[in-house]
């Protein structure tokens, strides 16, 4: 109960923070929208491109949420929070936000692209959203500065965008599963189980990575009580 209360509070505060960043919030919608609209006419794979745009936007939001608060995060741990509560709080806000974005894009794609199985496309977009949050958090926790984080996000998602076939490289990337789910929604058939398992497995690994990487950055050494005083 205490854990839930604290995680909800962290999520609430991150929500308040992001809502006040109106430009960032606008870009969070505009980026995937521009990816999608740029290819919506004439390209039946436009939902895949839009999904990649969502991966950029949501990963970026997660990355900056963790990197811009590094000093505060350590202070919050000193105040009594556990690192995992800070991570879950971010996940608790960014996850639903990303899912809402996926819902809106699914509706848009249903109108503009008329995929064979819109429900499956929606599932794929939701998978992109949920994968992008732990991906951004893991990168943000692992790298020393924002520039490195941004370059890794651009690199990984860019390679994902460039590799259309199921190559070994493509399969090793985090958005392979969601991409295949969206592609399955564009046809009347297509495997769902393996890409879904890939997404879930990768998501769990990314969350664990984020937890492992954030620990030393926000670590606070708890002192034991004094025994014998000494003077300088």
């Amino acid at each position: 109960m205490r854990l839930i209360r604290r995680v909800v509070l962290i999520a609430e505060m991150h929500g308040r923070d992001l809502i006040r960043r109106r430009a960032a919030l606008g870009l969070l919608i505009a980026l995937p929208l521009s990816f999608y609209l740029a290819s919506a006419r004439g390209d039946r794979r436009a939902p895949v491109t839009g999904g990649i745009g969502m991966a950029f936007a949501v990963s970026g939001a997660a990355l900056f949420s963790i990197m811009s608060a590094r000093d505060v995060d350590q202070r919050l741990v000193l105040a009594g929070y556990r690192p995992v509560e800070l991570l879950l709080g971010r996940l608790g806000f960014l996850g639903p936000l990303a899912l809402a974005l996926a819902g809106a894009f699914t509706a848009l794609m249903a109108i503009m692209s008329s995929p064979a199985r819109i429900g499956i496309v929606g599932l794929g977009l939701a998978a992109v959203s949920l994968q992008a949050v732990p991906f951004g958090l893991a990168i943000g926790a692992a790298v020393p500065r924002e520039l490195e984080g941004v370059l890794i996000v651009i690199g990984v998602i860019g390679v994902q965008l460039a590799s259309r076939t199921a190559t070994a490289v493509s399969k090793a990337l985090p958005f392979y599963g969601p991409q295949r789910v969206i592609e399955a929604g564009l046809e009347h058939n297509g495997a769902l189980l393996w890409p879904t398992m890939h997404t879930l497995g990768y998501g769990v690994v990314l969350l664990i990575a984020a937890r492992v990487f954030i620990a030393p950055r926000v670590y606070v050494r708890k002192p034991s009580p004094p025994e014998q005083p000494a003077d300088l």
């Binding site: 209360r5 604290r6 509070l9 962290i10 505060m13 308040r16 923070d17 006040r20 960043r21 608060a69 000093d71 505060v72 350590q74 202070r75 919050l76 000193l78 105040a79 009594g80 929070y81 670590y219 606070v220 050494r221 708890k222 002192p223 034991s224 009580p225 004094p226 025994e227 014998q228 005083p229 000494a230 003077d231 300088l232």
Partner: protein, 208 residues
């Protein structure tokens, strides 16, 4: 006097530069200690080690908890208000939303924080931001209070008020360490400890 903070043989190097070399220190309950020293002597580093946010290379820090730490650079969320900070930090310390606000408002009022201005931290002046920084350190009702030049940006009234508060903290039995360059105020503290710069720096090795 019972020691609330004991530092034994603490050393810290950054690369080839020795910042702290086997520092020993003890601060008792109700004692206000000023930590002075030239720039780069390691005052802030020592305070960070005492707070537990920086690991030392050798030595041990023992302290009663909770520790209130007011860093020189206020680590705050730029787009959250003071009220939201109080709730967030208070919840970490185990306070309810109501208790965190009640206690936090009380502390902020003591330092003349403009409570009627519900603006985000980004729009606060440096001194007002520092008042919030100090309030967050005091929020958990600390046993040990570590203050790294906490009065930066304070107007004269608040500055005087800050040193008056040292007397209150003393009466409450809090062990207080204040990093300061304000030599005129050293009669307001119980003890002054000057942290010497390590010889490796005086001889020009390492960072200046």
């Amino acid at each position: 006097m019972n020691a609330r903070l004991v530092v034994s043989g603490v050393s810290k190097c950054f690369g080839p530069t020795t910042i702290l070399d086997r520092v020993d220190l003890s601060v008792g309950a109700g004692e206000v200690m000023a930590l002075t020293g030239e720039n780069g002597a390691g005052k802030s580093t020592l305070l960070r080690i005492c707070a537990g946010v920086l690991a030392c290379d050798a030595g041990v820090v023992r302290a009663d908890t909770p520790i209130g730490y007011c860093p020189q650079e206020a680590g705050l969320f730029e787009l959250l208000t003071a009220e939201e900070h109080l709730v967030m930090f208070g919840c970490g310390a185990g306070l309810s939303r109501r208790d965190a606000l009640s206690r936090g408002y009380g502390i902020l009022a003591e330092f003349g924080y403009p409570l009627h201005e519900r603006v985000v931290v980004r729009d606060l002046s440096g001194g007002t931001r520092q008042k919030l920084n100090l309030a967050l350190a005091l929020l958990p009702n600390p046993a040990v209070l570590l203050l790294d030049e906490p009065y930066q940006g304070f107007d004269h009234g608040t500055y005087v008020n800050f040193w008056d508060h040292c007397q209150t903290w003393r009466q409450q039995g809090i062990a207080v360490v204040v990093v300061t360059h304000m030599l005129a105020e050293l009669d307001r503290v119980d003890r002054v400890v000057e942290l010497p710069a390590h010889p490796s720096r005086a001889h020009g090795r390492g960072r200046s």
